[in-house]
């Protein structure tokens, strides 16, 4: 067997010329966005700028009216794939408000998320192996929930739910992680832990973080994309974009 050197790729996700209209309102307007396979990116912008809608498009929840979205080293269009297929292709998503299965235990939540076959038949006859147990334990440990595995997710505090959701994301082993406002409802200490975790994760995968908290963004220390009215207003280092007069006017100045 000959080993073939993996092709060097410059972008993992490529969104180009995408527009979405809701009842005549253009939420995303000719948006283009690229991220590399091991990159951390912060996305900021005023309320209603289209940040969440952008994630909806990438994850297949919302279909754009025009434009292309491709993913992977052999670029594959995501537009014809279902949400579940996109998720299986390696796109993980964390929602703005924590969405865990509240009626199920922490470990059940994690087991659901563990990367594995998803077809009904395979899941029906799935049996937990020692390896799975170890993975669940390690994930719980990573987010500080090791003592809460048997508890129902609904009993956790808001911050703990956020952590559980992050652990579920990690369990999926995604190659692109979309994180919507992770710091909401977290304590100062938890925010620091979160930034550290996101920076660490971005060493092995692409991570897009939407956040309003500027301190949080600063600590991420990465390239920033500013969205406004559905398109990119500015892009660059945080210092660079915060000096941009337009950004100051629409976002920071308020």
């Amino acid at each position: 067997m000959t080993t073939i050197a993996p092709p060097r790729i410059t972008s993992l996700l490529e969104v180009s010329g995408v527009s979405v209209t809701f009842d005549g309102f253009r939420a995303i307007n000719n948006l283009s966005f690229t991220i590399g396979p091991q990159e951390l990116r912060a996305v900021i912008g005023p309320n209603g700028a289209g940040k969440t809608t952008f994630m909806d498009i990438v994850t297949g929840k919302t279909r754009p009216d025009e434009g292309t979205v491709t993913f992977g080293e052999v670029p594959r269009s995501l537009l014809r794939m279902s949400e579940a297929q996109i998720a299986r292709a390696g796109v993980g998503r964390k929602f703005q408000r924590p969405t865990v299965f509240e009626d199920q235990s922490v470990s059940e939540n994690l087991i659901l998320a563990l990367k594995a076959q998803r077809a009904p038949w395979r899941v029906l006859f799935w049996r937990e192996t020692g390896q799975d147990r170890a993975k669940v334990a390690a994930l719980a440990e990573q987010v500080g929930l090791q003592d809460h595995l048997a508890r129902k997710a609904g009993e956790l505090s808001h911050g703990q739910k956020q952590w559980l959701e992050i652990a579920m994301l990690l369990a999926q082993e995604p190659r692109l992680l979309l994180v919507d406002e992770p710091a909401a409802g977290m304590s100062f200490l938890e925010r620091e832990q979160t930034t550290a975790l996101l920076v660490e994760l971005a060493k092995t995968r692409a991570v897009v973080v939407v956040e309003h908290d500027m301190e949080f963004i600063r600590r991420l220390n990465c390239k920033v994309t500013v969205l406004h009215e559905g398109s990119v207003l500015a892009e660059g280092s945080l210092d660079h974009v915060t000096k941009n007069p337009q950004v100051i006017e629409v976002y920071l100045g308020r």
Binding site: K61, Q85, A87, L112, P120, V123, W126, K152
Partner: protein, 407 residues
């Protein structure tokens, strides 16, 4: 592996033990094999009740666990009944025809027998030919697989169309009712090939067992129904435990979230819908021989609504709840509507339970929904048991959830 299955489902052992004791007690007391304290008619009622418990299990799987309020599962139940009914009626009629022709000087040809059977069965709707859908009815080996195949196909087609279009919540419930109504209206027609509103009758007679008295047959059916319920319970516990059960409850609570975890939600819904349709059909296949007759009124839309009421009263989202609900309410219902409950004279008005039972049931449903959302089965939670805390499954949490995970 078995140990962990039972450890995760402690209710399975309890349920099987309770069912075994009940079955044994009835068998010993019944007319057929035992002391004769329970009349045959009541043995049949109990056997039928066990079948209703089985279809309630199916309803709990689809509604209580997966959150799809199907109001069409009694249609699958009835289809299962029709499928066995065709074989039973054909075989029984064939015996009669052969007997009648036995006296003739020339022994009848198979064609003559078949013609005789067709005339016997379809004379009542003015026909004398066997419709094409009866092609398999002469053979148990051909006809009985239809108990599973026909409802499975129906459920697959319906489910594929509905789930692929992402019909959810109330809209799906209405659609299942429409399917039920359409099927009933079709069967009511005389030229449906299933004898219109006459339905199929004489189903209590098993071919070749003419000499066996009903008192014995009824016990056999009762035992078969109990075995089937036991099997169904174990199967349902298997499906609802482990990761698959987790996924089902995930669909119920937040299907969009499950999609983003990579689960093909539509595939799961189709799988459960079809599986429960088959369970319902098998239950029906054992119910109607005990009832003796089936007609299109059996799949009136209201029957499926009753099924939902039983499961709600028993406590959805737990298997024993569904069984308790169906058993308790349907027995109570046959007591009230069978004229056995004493009327209550109020002087100015007499309460006849035959008329007022539905009102009482409706009231009970509303009260349970409002005040005991976990149903009768929920009372078991009061017993010391492993963790069952956290978010309640209130009345609006389960099936009728329309709101999606909006990010």
């Amino acid at each position: 592996m078995t140990r962990t299955f039972l450890a995760r489902n402690p209710s399975v052992l309890w349920f099987l033990a309770a069912l075994a004791i009940f079955t044994l007690t009835v068998t010993v007391l019944a007319e057929g094999l035992g002391l004769g304290l329970i009349p045959t008619a009541f043995v049949k009622v109990l056997g039928k009740t066990l079948c209703l418990c089985l279809v309630a299990l199916a309803m709990d799987l689809i509604w209580g666990y997966t959150g799809i309020l199907s109001l069409g599962h009694m249609a699958f139940f009835a289809v299962g009944g029709y499928m066995t009914g065709m074989w039973l009626m054909y075989a029984r009629t064939e015996e009669i025809v052969v007997q009648a022709l036995a006296g003739s000087p020339i022994p009848p040809t198979p064609d003559e027998v078949a013609q005789g059977v067709a005339t016997q069965i379809f004379g009542v709707v003015g026909g004398s030919d066997l419709p094409a859908i009866w092609s398999f009815a002469h053979s148990a080996w051909l006809q009985l697989p239809m108990v599973v195949l026909v409802p499975a196909l129906l459920a697959m087609i319906f489910g594929w169309l509905a789930f692929r279009a992402r019909v959810n919540g109330v809209y799906l419930s209405i659609l299942t009712q429409a399917m039920t109504l359409a099927l009933a209206l079709y069967l009511f027609q005389n030229d449906s090939g299933l004898r219109g509103n006459n339905g199929l009758s004489g189903l209590q007679n098993l071919p070749g067992l003419g000499e066996v008295p009903q008192s014995s047959l009824s016990i056999w059916f009762f035992l078969a129904s109990a075995a089937l319920l036991a099997l169904g319970y174990v199967a349902a516990a298997f499906v609802t435990s482990g990761k698959f059960g987790s996924a089902l409850r995930g669909i119920r609570d937040d299907e969009q979230r499950l999609r983003f975890l990579g689960y093909p939600v539509e595939g799961y819904k189709l799988f459960v819908f079809t599986l429960t349709a088959v369970i319902a059909a098998i239950a029906g296949a054992f119910y109607y021989p005990q009832a003796g007759i089936i007609n299109p009124a059996e799949l009136a839309p209201i029957a499926s609504i009753y099924l939902a009421v039983w499961v709600a009263i028993g406590g959805r989202g737990r298997l024993y709840g569904a069984v308790i609900g169906a058993g308790f309410v349907s027995l109570l219902s046959s007591w009230f509507t069978g004229g056995m409950a004493p009327s209550i004279p109020l002087g100015f008005y007499t309460i006849h339970w035959v008329d007022w039972w539905t009102v009482l049931l409706g009231l009970a449903f509303v009260l349970v929904t409002l005040f005991v959302p976990r149903g009768i089965g929920g009372l078991f939670d009061k017993l010391p048991s492993p963790r069952r805390h956290g978010a309640q499954l209130g009345p609006d949490d389960g099936a009728l959830r329309e709101k999606e995970a909006d990010a």
